[in-house]
Symmetry: C2
Subunit: 198 residues, 2 copies
């Protein structure tokens, strides 16, 4: 059988310990202070064991994010049914997270990967951005279908504008809540305007 492999099998426990150590050290120290030696040491693993399975350091941390050891829960949109309120709560949470330097470190790592080789970038998009982007998009479409949100503006455009504004203001370190509330009202307004003014 081609699937049958001889020799000592790979230790799943060690693999998980490495990813967990990478995630923990990233949140504790920030991405650029994480070292392979530290990861190996905390995981109780040898350096070679890491390099046997991962090509380089960024891939280890990226995998830790992908496998869910490093979540970015701040980017999860709450769902109470009130879109405007949910978006504003989401904004507040995100703004708080963006003020945390450790969170920025992760964002930085992601941007680094995103501007790197096409292959890594798309892998990262699939595992990180899509899980954030798609639910937001789905929610917007759901509200459009329910008549709670105007269909004049495509859900995709609204999602882009929301995530984009968040990203932009985070990187520029500009205050968030007020402006985000403004853009939310603006994007959600058409329904109310069409309903009340006409």
């Amino acid at each position: 059988m081609t699937g049958t492999r001889t020799g000592r099998p790979r230790s799943e426990a060690t693999r998980l310990a490495i990813l967990e150590a990478a995630a923990a050290l990233t949140t504790e120290l920030g991405y650029d202070h994480v070292t392979i030696d530290a990861i190996a040491s905390r995981a109780g693993a040898g350096k070679q064991t890491i390099y046997r399975w991962w090509s380089a350091k960024p891939m280890v941390v990226a995998d830790a994010v992908i496998e869910g050891f490093l979540r970015l829960p701040a980017l999860d949109l709450p769902d109470t049914g009130d879109l405007s309120a949910d978006l504003k709560a989401w904004t507040t949470t995100s703004a708080a997270a963006m003020g945390d330097s450790r969170f920025l470190q992760v964002v930085r790592a992601l941007v680094t990967a995103a501007t790197g080789p096409e292959q890594d970038a798309s892998r990262l998009y699939e595992h990180i951005m899509r899980p954030t982007y798609e639910p937001l998009l789905a929610r917007l479409r759901r509200d459009q279908d329910a008549g709670l949100l105007s269909t004049a503006v495509s859900a995709e455009s609204v999602a882009d504008a929301l995530l984009g504004t968040l990203l932009f203001r985070a990187l520029a370190r500009l205050p968030m809540p007020e402006t985000m509330a403004g853009i939310i009202d603006a994007l959600l307004a058409p329904t109310a305007a069409a309903g009340t003014d006409c």
Copy 2:
């Protein structure tokens, strides 16, 4: 006089040579393959001369951008008077630039600097983001005053949404023109809608 300084004055030629070398190497090799040694070597300068005037490597590259050795002309908004057309042309130009890996390398350097120490980040914002952001904002306000753009949405929110969407889609490497056209139409629509429908 406090302004009078004794000793050998700083060499402007060397300063420019360093910035030029940093810019050239960044476009040639990509940001993370640029080394201080290489910059010093190409500039015909000593390493200490670099560290005497810059705190660290990202700041050298950032300064090269600031001083105009690494321009991002793609982010300049044209001004024909037709806001919608200008924004769409701007989008197309920006999209093309974002497809250039050298451009992405510069963006990466800027993000690295932006997520770094507060002081460096704000300096970068003042010199890079503001020159892009403020003219866009001014243009939007001008059109609002002229009645060409609805005042229902704040100019700041529109500017954020536009730059944010661009940034987001660039980093996620998603197609740009169609979606950007959608968001532009959406943000500019209120005037037309209010004028024609009501």
